[in-house]
Amino acid sequence: MTATGQVTVDPELCMASGTCLALAPGLFDMGDDGTARPLPGAGAGAGELLTKAMTNCPTGAIRLISPPPT
């Protein structure tokens, strides 16, 4: 089953390597300061691309927060 949730990029950890933008271009965008920002909907039906971006981030700044069960 694919997890769905909110994707966050920890601004304190992100060091603008650009890895997530390269691996998952539809999911992340780059802010003016160079740090990555999740695009709206990045966590919807989070699939292979998001997993790839999360596991490959050199500082582990990307997280998927699952919403509490309703």
Binding site: M15, A16, T19, A22, D33, G34, G60
Partner: protein, 454 residues
């Protein structure tokens, strides 16, 4: 057969990997005959081991899985800063403070604080000055006669550094900066430097002091400090250069990471790291373009139409086929298993960029110049790594690509490149950079020539 120790996983020791017949010869070739080194060494497979004189045991890899493991390393076992200290004159060129920072725990923190100077909004701010330099200088170029484009590209990149990085406009300071840059060039290419290089290799990374170099670096820092003082005395709100961005970062920085010394260090870093690499890539782009008239025609058309997509693909493809820095390395600080390879403390891992980019397993027709392969796609960071990767990815990568884009676009709008049927220029090593052997010898024409051609 004796009883083997039980193993839980398949781990290979470095001595189980292939080696060239002579490590010393291969080591020399990697630096001085990069093309034949690549052809010969890739015959050994994606991984091989070198035991060269005065060097720690080196694992050389062109496997994207190994690249990923190195770039993702969060254990701290692999150090780029230590490898630089060991292999490159960074310590004497950039100063101990910058080097200490590079290998330290707050590397990421400081890096994050200066990153905005090399990204999005700041880059757009640098554009007018870059365009001004390119337009002014391109108009002075001779047409109808062969020129060495690399030397033009160097002068242009240098003007960009003066205007965009240092932002120095006052005449006396600008001439001081220009003199210091000349002197720095001279010293980096001097016999004194070569001697220190050799001594550092033989003493396993101890760099002898270089007082003449220290003096130039002090002069460069003085220019920065004077410029900072002038700006503080008479603030101008619309300054858009790296120094202005650094000063803004300093103002907003409550932790005091960016004092004036650190700013001066970064200016120097940009000067040394950003000038020759950018010029070399510009030269390679032009060398590739004149030998591929169809690519050139498509590029001219797209630039005229105001579309940068194809231009970006041309730059990406050039950086793949002719990376200016052919490898990157990490020092192994403690025993670690990289994928399935056991790396003992004190060994090194080298990512063989020049081989990865030309691997037939990773790219279709890898030796061909085909910018189309990068249209509509972002290069895979473990197969395309002209700027390295992971937490040590070149801080100026975006800025370099932005600058190359702006300069090329401006040149193509002003002039025509004349197609050339002579053989490809080969990669020639100059210090650690790979340059076109004939320094991108090309003939330029006017825009009228372009119309005549089509």
């Amino acid at each position: 057969m004796s009883t083997a120790p039980p193993t839980t996983a398949q781990v290979t020791a470095l001595n189980g990997l292939p080696r060239p017949r002579s490590s010393a010869a291969a080591w020399g070739k990697l630096f001085f005959a990069p093309e034949s080194a690549r052809r010969e060494l890739t015959q050994l497979g994606p991984r091989f081991v070198l035991d060269a004189p005065f060097m720690p045991t080196m694992l050389w890899t062109s496997s994207p899985d190994d690249v990923r493991a190195v770039f993702q390393d969060k254990s701290g076992a692999l150090s780029f800063g230590t490898a630089l200290r060991r292999m490159a004159p960074h310590e004497i060129v950039f100063g101990d403070r910058i080097m200490t920072w590079w290998a330290s725990d707050n590397h990421t923190e400081v890096r994050r604080s200066v990153t905005p100077a090399f990204m999005g909004k700041a880059l757009q701010g640098y554009r007018p000055a870059m365009e001004e330099v390119a337009t002014r200088m391109t108009r002075e170029l001779p047409t109808g006669t062969a020129i060495r484009f690399h030397s033009f590209a160097r002068t242009m990149a240098r003007e960009v550094i003066m205007s965009v990085v240092f932002g120095v406009t006052e005449a006396q300071r600008r001439s001081q900066l220009s003199d210091s840059m000349d002197e720095l060039d001279r010293l980096i290419g001097s016999r004194g430097m070569a001697l220190r290089y050799a001594a550092a290799m033989m003493s396993r990374g101890r760099w002898l002091p270089f007082p003449a170099l220290d003096r130039v670096l002090d002069d460069l820092d003085r220019v920065t400090h004077e410029e900072i003082a002038a700006r503080r005395a008479a603030p101008e709100a619309d300054r858009r250069d790296c120094l202005a961005v650094f000063l803004k970062i300093q103002e907003a920085d409550e932790r005091g990471l960016m004092d004036d010394e650190m700013i001066a260090g970064f200016q120097r870093l940009l000067l040394v790291a950003g000038n020759d690499t950018t010029a070399a890539t510009l030269a390679w782009v032009v060398e590739r373009l004149v030998r591929h008239p169809q690519v050139l025609a498509r590029l001219e058309e797209s630039v005229d139409a105001g579309d940068d997509t194809y231009l970006d693909a041309v730059i990406t493809e050039t950086l793949r086929l002719r990376p200016t820095v052919p490898f990157t390395a990490r020092m192994v600080n403690r025993d670690v298993v990289l994928n399935d390879i056991y790396l003992p403390r004190g060994s090194m891992v080298w990512l063989y960029i020049n081989a990865i980019h030309r691997s037939a397993d990773l790219y279709e027709a890898p030796d061909e110049f085909r910018p189309e392969r990068f249209l509509g796609t972002t290069p895979d960071p473990y197969r395309w790594l002209p700027f390295g990767g992971g937490i040590n990815r070149c801080l100026g990568a975006h800025m370099a690509q932005f600058e190359i884009r702006v300069l090329l676009r401006t040149i193509l709008r002003e002039l025509a490149l004349v197609p050339d049927t002579s053989p490809d220029e080969t990669q020639q090593a100059q210090t650690v950079l790979l340059l076109p052997r004939r320094r991108a010898t090309v003939t330029l024409g006017t825009r009228m020539d372009r119309t005549a051609r089509s």
